[in-house]
Amino acid sequence: MTAALKVLAAGPLSTVQDGGRHGYQRYGVSVAGAFDPVYLAAANALVGNAADEGGIELTMTGDTYEVGADTVRIALAGDFAATIDGEAAAPWRSHTLARGQVLKVGAARAGLRGYVAVAGGFALVPQLGSVSTHLRNRLGGLDGARLKPGDRLPLRLPAAPPGGDRSLDPALLPPRSLALRVVPGPQDGHFSPDQIAAFLEAAWTIGRDSDRMGCRLEGPAIGHAKGFNIISDGIPLGAVQVPGSGQPIILLPDRQTAGGYPKIACVIKPDVAALAQARPGDVVRFQAVTAEAALAIHRAWRVAIAALPALTGPAGGDLGSERLLSLNLVGGMVDAINPPEDAR
């Protein structure tokens, strides 16, 4: 039987995600892809993969896997409780496991999303150029579905490659916060200066019905100077649309390709990644930046992602829980209400 990772138990929303499905939005195909590309890149760096190789995105609670290969090197990025054959296993490192061993990833201790990567990657056939799962469009992953018990994720490598396990100190990840930086537009002209100011000054609570398509925010109703319908146009990642209710929605990887509500601003991609770790009830704010500033921030963020492999080191035993607690584990997530001066 071909090498595989067998899913014994699945979390509530575990899906295969890579860098996303690009080039087909003109045909109505959503991009999908890892909500937190930094954590995916970290998991991949730990097993020697390219940053956007397809991995498993966990949400709130992870999966249980049994190794169906001679050996496999597997890494977990994200502050999730985990065990290997019942013994505590640290996240933020790789583990080389033998056939029959069982990795159980439990609940998120902080943050919301974690990523599991295997050395060499999963041997899944890309659909429209990507293995990213989009549930509504039934594309990617295994039959376009979330992982379920009994699934077998085929592995490209029959055994773990040479070399030992690696670890990564999550404190070294690019800093992030829930003071989300936005570039105003494209339809900021549909709002008055007072309405834009209200949008930027408010504290917004993440609603319960948020998902990978949209993060629904609760706060003061934002009015529209020119009505809340526009002729449908394309939707970039992070677009903040304001429907008639005045409650903004941040549009995320699984968003539809086009829509008809005015977009007051767009959250920059590095801060969409930060949002991936926020839970319903958490509070976010918006901070306007210029397009020039956004460009510089984005480029620095990409440099930081590219540097992740160099930041890994040989895994010397498990990270103790005290040490984990001493690290700011959501990658430097800071209080959005009172962001420190040096949060940037």
Partner: protein, 242 residues
């Protein structure tokens, strides 16, 4: 180009090239022409473009280019476009079985518009529909050109599921749905043609700027064509646009 170009910021990875604020065939032609010119220029860092009714969303890699560089190129391309530019798309002739179990709302639409079912079918088959854009789901084509006599509000109660291939109308628009989906539009019929089929080299039959004509077929012909489609052997007739 007669439509004024406005460049709008769209975060750190995209920008919008907007040519107007209307649903208009000539404006949509201009969007298609600008899209073709930009895709043809293939500038460094361009990831993809999304043409819609009246604007183009341009996705780019900020490590390889920036909005100013792409914006300058888009301005130059727009200035050089011939407003009577040639159209690159195709006109597709889609067989449709109207009414009956495949078009449950045909009678309703006929009643509300004061016409016979045959007249409604005739109006749909006489229209030369324009694919203004695709969106909502993979391959879902928004068709403009629904005869004014047929414009109707959407259903009071949206259906939780409509079959793949449904020909529907809602408001001033029509559509061909590529997959089963919830919808509040009126179902008039069904085409056996799969407008989204991953087995094909080009999975998407319809592209922005294409035209669509409906050809009425009966239930037996529908069944025969559906068998071909299931085997991946049904490609409808088409012609290049002038």
């Amino acid at each position: 180009m007669t439509f004024p170009l406005t460049l709008l910021p769209a975060g750190d990875t995209a920008l919008v090239a907007e040519l107007g604020d209307a649903i208009d065939p000539a404006l949509n032609d201009a969007v298609q022409a600008l899209d073709a010119a930009l895709v043809g220029a293939n500038p460094a860092g361009l990831i993809e473009t999304v043409p819609t009714y009246r604007s183009l969303l341009v996705h780019f890699d900020p490590c390889l280019t920036d909005a100013d560089t792409l914006g300058a190129l888009i301005r130059a391309l727009a200035a050089g476009l011939d407003q009577a530019g040639t159209q690159a798309g195709r006109r597709w002739f889609l067989p449709v079985c109207f009414g009956g179990d495949l078009g449950e709302d045909l009678g309703f639409v006929a009643g509300r518009t004061g016409r016979s079912e045959a007249e409604v079918i005739g109006l749909h088959c006489a229209a030369d529909y324009r694919v203004y854009m695709l969106g909502f789901s993979p391959g879902f084509a928004y068709l403009g050109g629904l005869p004014a006599e047929l414009h109707l509000p959407r259903r009071d109660n949206p259906r939780l599921s409509t079959p793949a291939g449904s020909i529907m109308q809602g408001g001033a628009q029509a559509c061909v749905s590529p997959m089963a989906m919830p919808s509040g539009w009126h179902i008039l019929g069904q085409t056996p043609v799969m407008t989204f089929d991953l087995r094909r080299d080009q999975p998407f039959l319809l592209a922005p700027g294409d035209r669509v004509r409906f050809m009425a077929i009966d239930r037996d012909r529908f069944a025969a064509l559906a068998t071909l489609a299931a085997a991946g052997d049904l490609m409808p007739d088409s012609e290049a646009l002038a």
